[in-house]
Assembly symmetry: C2
Homo-oligomer: 422 residues x 2
């Protein structure tokens, strides 16, 4: 891996003042950030003139189902159970290894183009997604999905063995235990997932209290809410990554916040499926750890963390007042908070940190005028302002272009056409 | 004005199936749309190969304050009255004719780049904005803003004379009467605005029931809600273009819907300033005419109608169920509904209509796969998928580029820097 010298770039971290700096990337880390870096120090680094760019933290997507990009627009404007039972699950049942590979590649392309360098993925055929992440240069936590309702015993056994061996983990790809939800996993298997998470130090990632019916069914079956059930089973702790968290009681919010678990909010998806508005301000006020995710392309219908970030900020304000979730905090929910919970030493532009970041055009019409760079970035810009994306010390997008993107798009078009006709 | 021949383009109107057609633009209208247009018929038209493009209705922005683009990011994350009194109004007081011209130009650039070809504008120094609209080739309804609290008598008199003479109206630029709001205009002047609107056939455009405090103050002063006040004064009818409409009682909703007036919702701004979530579903269910606007850059913080369209759809779903405000209806609220209420014979791609439209890249990663083009456009894409923008029969953006955009951006940067230091 070579060196990159970002000459005279406006470094902007969330909650700090922007500062004009020279930045040297060496290997996969920010080696030096200072007022001026000498040519001697830069050595054989590639020099990039960054006078027109800000260097901002990249996005980290806390919860998605990447390969569902193939199902984008297949079914919309209907409620969750009809959407799943009549449309999504029947089509998903036809997906092959090759489809998952192609869908994952489209998803990763879409994420890179909108500034995302990491995603936590819950899906099937995980080896395909892992391969695509290695190939396209970003990061992921790939879930080993557990559901004893959906997966036969041999498959479950294989999944736990996969986890025990930490199969396929690498510098940029990690695994996590992903029991689907309290309604798709029995109590016995929830316990086994929690044990595995503790023993092998994996995140425990689950869909939690996404809808009111999930909560009501849990109460009928277990006599308590999904949050209380996890607490009872010993799964409510810092290791828990809980997606959605829409239908929390006051007690749920309180014990969740105290536990150190993280709520990964997916507001676009929750609104679109009419599941509800996540109680962002209540969670914040209770002191819960908060992060953002996009959910899958079939319920969002994109993987754009920028949209999720702005929507979260808007919803917090209408819930609790215009001063709630100011722009820097919204950016953190979409970047460093997700990175940190996934054990990635990135999300802040600083010496020694992993070299992930976005070069954002300061002369984009939506970044002008520049009274407040973070405000412009969070509230005004869209992904059109991103010129380049850096992950792990190398460019994964440059001048708005990702290597091979035309082929990825064409292959996905062909694959979806074939899938629909099967 | 020349001819444009859009060869083999996927024509997509809201609520219709996409159809592959040849489209001939002659003068400022769609002259012919058919399976094949012969070279003889196309004559000397410029031929554009559109196999990779969909032709979609452009956006029409129902309510904004264009020149406030200069104040983008100047103050955020605070409630409305502090935002106005301590930040926005003191800075606005310094704006000169030249500033308004420069700010309007930045706003129009921003709108074109996000696919908008029309805006209804409420602001000051209107001649500057009118000039910029003529120059950059789009459409506008420019408000003559009335407030006897903010404007001295001589200015008010001049404004009414301006309206009587239809000063500066042209093919693409029209005027409207814009009493600011029931709290910034006295009863006497509200009446005069309503009379002017009726006599000269102008839209009557007003901020209406934006916040709960506006409603409460109106009740204290007049003993009724702002909607009821307009009804009492004879201003609640088809000519009324009411921006915001956030804090409506059930009675307000009912009489508003029956009157034939149009509510122009600005959900981003209303959420960001914590004014409330507009009652989209209640208004729809009551049969009210609905349209969308962005409000100004200082409260949104952009002029992107696509964002507004998606947010309106998401909010409707979480209010009333996932089937509410399906994608084609959301697109209409952002396009043809706004065009129609402003007397513009456009917003639908059809023979004889004014030739406004967007060429959207079908191979954009967020437009793939294409099970449902409108769903992809409304829920997945962002302005990055727009290749070209056509207004009144000519390209105002081509291949993502607007003529002179670099100068517009640089001038706005310089102007804002100077403004802040005055």
């Amino acid at each position: 891996m070579g060196k990159i010298f970002l000459k005279s770039v406006l470094v902007q971290n969330a909650g700090e003042k922007p500062v004009r700096k020279d930045v040297l990337v060496d290997g996969n880390r920010f080696a030096k950030i200072s007022d001026e870096i000498s040519p001697e120090m830069a050595g054989n680094a590639e020099v990039v003139d960054c006078r027109n760019f800000a260097l901002l933290p990249a996005f980290y997507n806390g919860h998605t189902h990447a390969a569902m990009s193939l199902l984008r627009g297949y079914a919309d404007d209907m409620e969750l159970s009809k959407w799943l039972n009549q449309y999504i699950w029947p089509l998903e049942a036809k997906l092959t290894d090759k489809d998952i590979e192609i869908g994952s590649r489209l998803a990763v392309l879409e994420m890179i183009k909108s500034g995302t360098v990491f995603f936590a993925d819950m899906y099937w055929h995980r080896e395909q997604t892992m391969k695509v992440v290695e190939e396209l240069g970003i990061r992921a936590t790939i879930g080993v999905t557990i559901s004893d309702i959906l997966i036969p015993p041999a498959g479950l056994k294989a999944n736990f063995e996969f986890l025990e061996k930490h199969t396929g983990e690498s510098e940029r790809v990690k695994l996590s235990v992903m029991p689907h939800s309290v309604y798709m996993v029995s109590e016995e298997y929830l316990r086994r997932c929690i044990e595995m998470s503790e023993r092998e130090k994996y995140p425990l990632h689950i869909h939690l209290s996404e809808t009111e019916s999930e909560v009501q069914n849990c109460k009928s079956q277990y006599g308590c809410s999904p949050v209380e059930l996890l607490e009872r089973l010993g799964g409510l702790n810092e290791r828990l990554h809980a997606a959605h968290c829409v239908c929390f009681s006051e007690k749920d919010t309180e014990i969740f916040a105290k536990s150190g678990a993280t709520a990964i909010l997916n507001p676009c998806s929750n609104l679109k499926l009419s599941s509800g508005i996540p109680p962002i301000v209540k969670l914040m006020d209770a002191g819960a750890n908060l992060a953002l995710g996009t959910d899958g392309d079939s319920s969002n219908n994109n993987l754009d963390m920028h949209e999720e970030m702005k929507l979260a900020a808007l919803l917090a304000k209408v819930q609790g007042g215009a001063e709630k979730l100011p722009a820097p905090e919204a950016l953190k929910m979409a970047s460093v908070n997700v990175a940190r919970m996934n054990g990635i030493d990135a999300g802040v532009i600083a010496e020694g940190k992993l070299a992930d970041g976005l070069l954002v055009r300061l002369d984009n019409e939506r970044m002008v005028p520049c009274f407040d760079l973070i405000s412009n970035w969070v509230y005004s810009a869209d992904s059109g302002a991103i010129d380049s994306v850096i992950c792990n010390g190398r460019f994964v997008m440059r001048g708005g272009h990702v290597d091979g993107e035309e082929d990825i798009v064409r292959e996905a078009m062909d694959c979806a056409r074939d899938l629909a006709s099967r």
